[in-house]
Structures are given as C-alpha cells and as structure tokens.
Amino acid sequence: MDITRRRLLVLLPAAAVAWKFVLAGTPEASPNYKLTEHWWSMLIDIPKCIGCGSCVRACAEENDVPDGFYRTWIERYHVTGWQIEKPEVESPDGGKQAFPPNQSDGKNFFVPKLCNHCVDSPCTQVCPVGATFVTPDGVVLVDKTYCLGCRYCVQACPYGCRFINPKTNTAEKCSLCYHRITKGLTTACCEVCPTGARQLADLKNPKDPIHEFLRTHNVQVLKPHMATGAKVFYNGMDGSVR
C-alpha cells in the first residue's frame, strides 16, 4: 500500500485516538467510598500527650510493623535554659513501652510523630517508578508491588517517616490506616489514644471539629520552611521541636 499524504492524514488522527485508549486503560467501577469527598489530616494536641505508647503499639499490631521499625513513634523532649536549638530528644523503642522517669529540670514533653501526609510530598516526587503517590483523598501511600526498594523516598522524607521493611525490602510508611478510614473507622492510633491527643480529621467534611480548632488555636506543622504542605497539625508545639 502506498502511503500517500491523504492516507497519512487519515491514519494519524486514528492512531492518536487509539493511543489515548492505550494510555487510559480501563477505568474502575467506583466503590461506595468516594475518593474525592475526603481530604484526610491529623491533629496532635501536644499538651494532652502522656507518652503511654498506646499509639505505637496499636500501629505495630494493626499494620504488622516489624520490631525496631516505626510508622509512628513518640519523642520525649528535654529543653533546658536558653538552649532551644539543642533540645535533648529521646525515643527508646519508639516509645512503645512508655518512657522511663527522667530529669525534672527544664521543660519536658512528648511529641508523637508520624507521616505528615504532605500535599507536595518530597517522597512521592523522587520515586522513579510511581510506586508512591498522594491519593485523591490526600493520603500518601506506597504500592508495595511496584516499589523497587531504591530508598530514594527514605532519603527524601524530611521527617524520617519512611523505612525499608526488612521482610519485603520495599519502602513502608504510615498509611493513615487507609484500610480503616475508608471503612468509616478512625486510625488505630487515634482509636487507642487515651487522652484524645491524636484526632483524625477530614478537611473536606464541613462538620469536622478541626475547622473550628484550626481557627481558634495556635496550630503549627513540622518544618514549615520546607513547604511540604504537611497535613499533621500540632497544637501547643514548643519552638524547639524539629
């Protein structure tokens, strides 16, 4: 067959249409849970945290987190005098078995940490294969069947929230208990927090109490200068927290 100019002009749009179908794949039927109706975040009330480690234990149990690795952990800060830049921070076993007694001088407090589920997350931007991503409802997840274990994301996270699971050799992190929140439950850590220091919040739900809380309290995020769009909000955070 001769490819004339006329035939080429007919073939090119047809090829373009066919190519679009190849790229798009087959769309999935949408489940009851609507991805676009939620925008998940978490509120952490530092003055309420008692460092009991319930959240760390619950997270490990709910998500099969191997020993010595933490999707969430608690840090104990010890700030003395003017040395705000050099706080003493410790987290024995991630705070899983609560904390031993400590010094009574200076300011002492607990800071629970977890993935900040950033909107502009550095970890998803560096993934070379598209194994980690921000879902349409604002949760940063890892596709462990796609992850190569290259550790780029572990280095990129400014909050140290990622690790390589020694069993699967893939990146792992807090999923904000995605398997729970999509079923209408709260996260395991929020479920067991005895003082309500952790609260799951849906920023797209107009009835969520977080909106009033954010308006009326001095709420901060970790490392705001990094412009990650962190969605874990800390109330009553000391200036020394990093």
Binding site: D2, A15, G25, C49, S54, P101, F110
Partner: protein, 166 residues
C-alpha cells in the same frame, strides 16, 4: 511524486511496525490502572484499602457490652476506647464465642499511662507505683472501668505498706 517512493514506503512500514510492537508491549507491561488518578497504579488504592482490620473500634464493642459502657460513663475513663487497654480485638468482634480477650495485668497496663513522669501534663493523674501500691495489682482497689475508689477494702493499706518496705 518523489524520486524514491518505494524506499520511503519501506521505511514507513518499518516505523509503523515498530510503533505497533511498542504499543503492544506497553499495553502488556503497564498495568491497566496505571494513570487512572496520576502517575501510579490506581488499583493500589483499593488494594491498600482491602487490608483486614485488627482493632474493631469502640462502636463494635459498645454494641454488645452496654453494661461496661454504663459503668464507664460514671467515671473518668469514659473517654477511653475499650481497645486502648484490652488490645486489638476485631477477631473477638467477628467471633465473640471462640476468641475471648485475655485478662489484663493491671499492674502493667495502668502504669503505662499513670506512672509518674515529668514530661506528662501536670494535671494528668500520676503516681509512683512503687510508693503508691508497692507493686500489687491496681484492680485490688480500683475498678478500671470506674477508677475512683468508693469503698476501701480492708487490709489493703497494710499490704501496700508491707510491700513498699521490702
């Protein structure tokens, strides 16, 4: 007409073939849901959501244990979820008859929250357990669902004092 039409046509056929091979390979290799929401496998979202739960949630507990709920409402522990102390019990919620939660060691479980620590909020009730109870189980005096003591059991104070002296 061009001079070497046959030559150009052959080249076009080769390019077209290569394009077809590429399209077929790509369709075979790239998961069909890739690009559904962005530069990732869309099915991964549903796969993550399909994981089974370990903690049933307090609504599941309250559906059956209404007596404990009423008891908790009378005390400060009303804000605690059952699984905060009793542990993950989704299996018990699914099959209450065959999976039963173990009895808790109150000397350990209570101390996780109430052991004195200077980093805890000042208004949070804390004790140095060694001085407060001498290591005896907390539920000797306190009923954990309603922790304020209404009536002291006889002989307990002597027991604590004896234990603390050791």
């Amino acid at each position: 007409m061009f001079k070497d039409t046959e030559h150009l046509a052959r080249l076009a056929v080769v390019i077209a073939l290569l394009l077809v091979v590429f399209a077929v390979l790509r369709a075979a290799v790239v998961p069909h849901s890739f690009g559904q929401y962005g530069h990732y496998r869309g099915d991964a979202i549903a796969e993550t959501a399909a994981r089974p739960i370990a903690f049933a949630g307090h609504d599941a507990c309250e559906a059956c244990h209404t007596d404990v709920v009423d008891q908790k409402k009378q005390g400060k522990h009303v804000i605690l979820a059952c699984e905060a102390c009793h542990g993950a019990l989704a299996k018990h919620a699914d099959d209450p008859a065959s999976v039963t939660p173990p009895k808790l060691d109150t000397a350990l479980v209570c101390a996780r929250c109430h052991e004195a620590n200077s980093a805890k909020p000042k208004d949070f009730p804390q004790v140095v357990t060694a001085e407060h109870s001498g290591g005896i189980a907390c539920d000797t005096c306190h009923q954990p669902h309603k922790p304020r003591i209404e009536q002291m059991k006889p002989g307990v104070i002597e027991k604590i004092q004896a234990g603390a002296k050791k």
